[in-house]
C-alpha cells in the first residue's frame, strides 16, 4: 500500500464577485480537476508546473492547510491507511508536524518574525512529545541543536536566540527544514523550497533533502516550477498544467521522451534554450559575429552613437537627522555608447548599478559627474519596466494609457490618437477590445505587451528594457523576447537591455556590458564575453548561471 494515495483530487475555491453593491455574487471555481498521486515510503516525487497550475494548492490540500473556503473532494485521499478527508481538527493536529511536515517557498515570511529560532524549532517537540520535553529545557535544547546541526547549520548554538531576519536566506530555509524534520516525519512536502534562493544554495538544499530521504526513508513530495531541479532530485515527475496532470513518468521518461509540447517548453526553459526565442539568439549571434571584425567594442566605427555616456558617476545623498550627509556612490566612472540598431546588454547583480544607469539615461536621475550625450534629433529614450503592473497606471484603462503619451506630445487629433492606439495594440498582438480593459484584467504577458506598446507608440529610437521578462513565466518570456526582436527589426530601434539573467542576455544582445559594484567590469560582443570572459566577476556570473544547467544535464 502506498504511503500517500490520492485519486481524483478536486479542489474548488469560493469566488466572490464584488459587485460593489448591496449584494455579492458567490460561486465556485475549480482549480484542480482530478489529480491522481501516489507516493511510496522513501520515494521522491516531483510536481512541476507554472504558476496557476495547481501544484501548490494540491500539496497544501494534503495537510489541509488551504483557506476555509476551499472545497476538497477526492475518490481516495489516504495517508498510511488514514482517510485524510474525514480527519477531525484534533486528528489533523496530531498528524501535522509529526507524521507529515511541510517546507515552504519563502522562509522569511514562513518563519514567525518576532520569535527566536529556538522557540520556533522546539515547538514541534512541545506539540508532539509533550511528556518528554515539556519540563526539560536542557533535553529540549539538546534536541534542537541536534536537528539544526543535521540541517547543516554549522554553529547552531549561536542561532538559538536569533530572529529570522538576522539569518541569511539559505540559513532560514535550513531552519525551516530542521523544523519540518524535527519529528522525523514519514512524508515531507516541499513547496518550491529553493525558488527564493541563489543557485549555489539551491544545490545545498537539494542535497539536504536527498540526505533526509536516504537516512530516514522520508517520502518527499517536491513541488517546483523548475523542471531541471525536479529532474535531479525526484524519482518520478508529474507535470501539471491548469489543474490537470498533462504528463507523468520517471525522470528519464520526462526528460528524454517528453510526450507533450508543454513539457518540452518547460524543458527548454530549464535548459536555457527557449525554442521560440532561438531566432533572436541567432540574430544576435549573427550580429555579434559580424562585429567580430572589429575587436574593439564598437560594432561600427563610422556610425555616430545615438547615445553616449561619458565618465558618469552617480551618487545618492541622504541627509541624516544631525545634518550630516551620507553619500552612496551607485555608479563610478562609467562610459559607453549605444549605436543605431543594436541591442546592448547591461548585466550585473542587484546593486551593481544597472538600474541607476538606466534611470540616468532616461533623465530621471541626474549625473553627479560626467555627461550624457544624445545624437542630434534623438529624443529621450522610452522605457519598459520589469513589472508591467507597476509601470502601467492601475487606475486607467489601456486605451487611456496608450493615448496619454500622444496627448502629452500634442499635435494629434482625437481620431488620429485612437487610430494610433489601435495600430499599437495590433502591433503587440493584442486586440482592440483590450483598450477598454484595466491593467489588472490582463495576464502578465499581456501587460508587458501593453507596456511595450506604450513605449513604442511615439516611435522612439532608443528603448531601455529594464528586466522586461524577469517577472514572467518561462513560456511567456520567449514570446515577449520574440516580439521585442520583431519590433526592433521593423522599426530600426536600438535597445539597451538590462538584466541579471545571463541566459536572456546571451539570447538577445549584440554587445554586453558587465557591471560590478557600479563600475564596468567587462565589455565586448556577446560572443566574446560569453566565450572568453576576462574579468573574474564575469566568470563567476557565467558559472552560476551555466553550471546549474550543466549539472542538471549531468545529473539526468
Amino acid at each position: 500500500m502506498p504511503l500517500l494515495d490520492i485519486k481524483n483530487l478536486k479542489i474548488a475555491f469560493q469566488v466572490k464577485k464584488d459587485t460593489d453593491g448591496l449584494f455579492q455574487m458567490l460561486g465556485e471555481q475549480e482549480v484542480v480537476h482530478g489529480i491522481d498521486l501516489s507516493l511510496e515510503k522513501g520515494q521522491i516525487i516531483g510536481l512541476v508546473g507554472e504558476s496557476g497550475s495547481g501544484k501548490s494548492v494540491s500539496s497544501l490540500s494534503i495537510l489541509k492547510l488551504l483557506p476555509e473556503d476551499a472545497k476538497i473532494t477526492a475518490d481516495t485521499m489516504c495517508f498510511d491507511g488514514i482517510d485524510l478527508l474525514s480527519q477531525t481538527e484534533e486528528e489533523w493536529q496530531t498528524l501535522r508536524g509529526d507524521r507529515i511536515s511541510m517546507v515552504f517557498q519563502e522562509p522569511m515570511t514562513s518563519l514567525n518574525p518576532v520569535l527566536t529560532i529556538e522557540k520556533q524549532v522546539e515547538e514541534g517537540l512541545l506539540l508532539h512529545e509533550e511528556e518528554t520535553y515539556k519540563d526539560n529545557k536542557e533535553l529540549r535544547r539538546e534536541r534542537v541543536l541536534e536537528v539544526l546541526a543535521e540541517a547543516g547549520l554549522s554553529h547552531p548554538e549561536e542561532l538559538l536566540l536569533k530572529y529570522p531576519h538576522q539569518l541569511s536566506g539559505g540559513m532560514r530555509q535550513r531552519v525551516m527544514i530542521a523544523i519540518a524534520m524535527m519529528n522525523r516525519p514519514e512524508l515531507l512536502i516541499a513547496d518550491e523550497p529553493t525558488t527564493a534562493l541563489d543557485a549555489a544554495t539551491q544545490e545545498i538544499i537539494l542535497e539536504l533533502l536527498k540526505y533526509y530521504c536516504e537516512t530516514y526513508k522520508t517520502a518527499i513530495l517536491f513541488i517546483s516550477h523548475d523542471l531541471s531541479l525536479v529532474a535531479r532530485l525526484c524519482d518520478r515527475v508529474l507535470v501539471l498544467k491548469n489543474g490537470k496532470v498533462v504528463e507523468r513518468g520517471t525522470k528519464e521518461e520526462i526528460f528524454y521522451r517528453p510526450q507533450q509540447e508543454y513539457t518540452r517548453q518547460l524543458m527548454a526553459a530549464a535548459k536555457g534554450k527557449q525554442l521560440a526565442g532561438e531566432s533572436i539568439i541567432n540574430a544576435g549571434q549573427v550580429g555579434a559575429e559580424e562585429s567580430n571584425d572589429t575587436p574593439d567594442t564598437k560594432p561600427n566605427n563610422t556610425a555616430i552613437p545615438l547615445l553616449q555616456l561619458k565618465n558618469a558617476t552617480i551618487e545618492y545623498r541622504e541627509k541624516t537627522f544631525f545634518g550630516k550627509e551620507k553619500v552612496t556612490t551607485a555608479v563610478k566612472n562609467v562610459s559607453f555608447e549605444l549605436y543605431k540598431g543594436e541591442v546592448l546588454g547591461l548585466v550585473g547583480e542587484s546593486g551593481s548599478g544597472k538600474s541607476t544607469i538606466s534611470k540616468a539615461l532616461t533623465g530621471l536621475l541626474p549625473l553627479t559627474k560626467g555627461e550624457l550625450i544624445r545624437a542630434e534629433g534623438t529624443e529621450a529614450p522610452r522605457m519598459v519596466f520589469q513589472d508591467p503592473y507597476g509601470s502601467l497606471n492601475p487606475a486607467k484603462k489601456i486605451g487611456w494609457i496608450l493615448e496619454e503619451p500622444l496627448k502629452i506630445q500634442g499635435g494629434y487629433t482625437k481620431e488620429e490618437r485612437k487610430r494610433l492606439v489601435r495600430a499599437a495594440l495590433k502591433e503587440v498582438e493584442l486586440e482592440e477590445a483590450h483598450a477598454k480593459r484595466y491593467v489588472r484584467e490582463l495576464s502578465g504577458g499581456q501587460r508587458q505587451r501593453v507596456a511595450i506598446a506604450a513605449a513604442l507608440i511615439q516611435k522612439p529610437e532608443i528603448v531601455i528594457l529594464d528586466e522586461p521578462v524577469s517577472a514572467l513565466d518561462v513560456t511567456v518570456q520567449g514570446q515577449i523576447l520574440e516580439l521585442l526582436y520583431r519590433l526592433k527589426e521593423e522599426h530600426g530601434m536600438s535597445y539597451l537591455f538590462v538584466s541579471h539573467d545571463m541566459n536572456v542576455i546571451r539570447r538577445v544582445c549584440d554587445r554586453v556590458i558587465v557591471l560590478y559594484q557600479g563600475e564596468i567590469a567587462e565589455t565586448g560582443t556577446t560572443a566574446d564575453v560569453f566565450e572568453r570572459p576576462e574579468h573574474p566577476y564575469t566568470k563567476e556570473l557565467l558559472r552560476n548561471n551555466m553550471d546549474v544547467h550543466e549539472q542538471k544535464e549531468k545529473s539526468i
Binding site: 453593491g21 455574487m25 534611470k359 529621450a380 519596466f385 520589469q386 507597476g390 486607467k396 506630445q409
Partner: protein, 262 residues
C-alpha cells in the same frame, strides 16, 4: 452563482437614507415651524401631533430634529470638503515636490496632530466665536491634517512607482502627472477617508454643539438639543433620545458603509 445579500451595507445605506430623507425634507417642510414656541405645550411626551414630543419651549422636537439633521449634514459636508480639499492639495503637493515646504508643512502637521482635535476645535472657536460658519472653519482646519497625512503617504508611495516614471519619460508635466496619473490611483483611499471623515465630522459637530460651541440658538442642532435635553432626563427622557438616536443612525450608517469599503 449564488446571490448573497450584504446586510451591513444594506442597513448602512438604509440608515443614511433615513436621516438624509429627514434632512432633505426638513429643508423644505417641517410639521411645525422649528422655532415656534407654545407655552401650553411645554415638555409634552410623544403623541400623534408631536411624534417626538415637545421641548421646554413647547417646540416640536420632530421638526427640530429634522432641521437639526440637515444642519448637521450641511456642516459635516462642508467640514469634510474644506478638510479634504485643502488636505488633499497640501498632501499631494508636499509629497510630490518634497523639499523644505514638505518639511515645514509636515512639522506643522505633527504639531497639530500632537493636540487632540476636539480641543483644537474648542480653541479655534474660542478665537473666532461660535456659529455655523465659524464651526465649519474651525472643524475644517482641524480636519486638514488627517487628510494631508493620508494623501501624502499615498502620493509618496505612488510617486515612486514605475508608472509615474513612465509618465515622466513621456514628457508629462508635474501637474499633469499629479492630477491625471497619481490622483486617480489614490481615489479609493480618498473615498474611504472621506467617509470616515464625514462620520467624524458629524460626531465632532454634535460634540461642539453639545458644548455650546456650535450652531447658535435658537436654531436647532442635534448636539445642542442633547445638551438641553440632559436637564430634562428625569421627566422627559424622550427629548434626549430623539436627537441622540438620529446622530447614532447617521454615524452608524456611515460606519457600516465605511467598514464595507475597507
Amino acid at each position: 452563482m449564488k446571490k448573497k445579500l450584504n446586510h451591513n451595507l444594506i442597513i448602512g445605506y438604509f440608515l443614511i437614507a433615513l436621516v438624509m430623507l429627514m434632512a432633505v425634507v426638513g429643508l423644505f417642510y417641517t410639521p411645525y415651524p422649528v422655532n415656534e414656541m407654545n407655552v401650553l405645550l411645554k415638555n409634552q411626551p410623544p403623541s400623534f401631533a408631536h411624534l417626538f414630543g415637545t421641548d421646554q419651549f413647547g417646540r416640536d422636537i420632530f421638526s427640530r430634529v429634522m432641521e437639526g439633521a440637515s444642519t448637521s449634514f450641511f456642516i459635516a459636508l462642508c467640514v469634510v470638503l474644506v478638510g479634504a480639499g485643502i488636505g488633499t492639495l497640501t498632501g499631494a503637493i508636499t509629497a510630490y515636490f518634497g523639499g523644505w515646504l514638505d518639511a515645514v508643512l509636515m512639522r506643522v502637521n505633527d504639531v497639530l496632530a500632537a493636540f487632540p482635535s476636539v480641543l483644537l476645535a474648542i480653541c479655534f472657536v474660542a478665537v473666532i466665536g461660535p456659529g455655523t460658519y465659524n464651526l465649519i472653519v474651525a472643524l475644517g482646519i482641524v480636519f486638514i491634517p488627517s487628510f494631508t497625512r493620508v494623501v501624502r503617504s499615498e502620493v509618496l508611495v505612488q510617486k515612486e512607482l514605475d508608472y509615474v516614471r513612465n509618465a515622466k519619460l513621456m514628457g508629462a508635466k508635474n501637474l499633469r502627472i499629479l492630477v491625471f496619473h497619481i490622483l486617480p490611483n489614490i481615489k479609493p483611499v480618498l473615498k474611504t477617508s472621506l467617509l470616515v471623515g464625514f462620520q467624524n465630522a458629524v460626531l465632532s459637530e454634535a460634540g461642539m454643539s453639545y458644548l455650546g460651541l456650535g450652531v447658535t440658538q435658537p436654531d436647532p442642532s442635534l448636539g445642542r438639543m442633547l445638551s438641553e435635553a440632559q436637564g430634562f432626563l428625569w421627566n422627559a427622557p424622550w427629548y434626549a433620545l430623539a436627537p441622540g438616536l438620529t446622530i447614532l443612525a447617521l454615524t452608524l450608517g456611515l460606519g457600516l458603509v465605511t467598514s464595507d469599503k475597507e
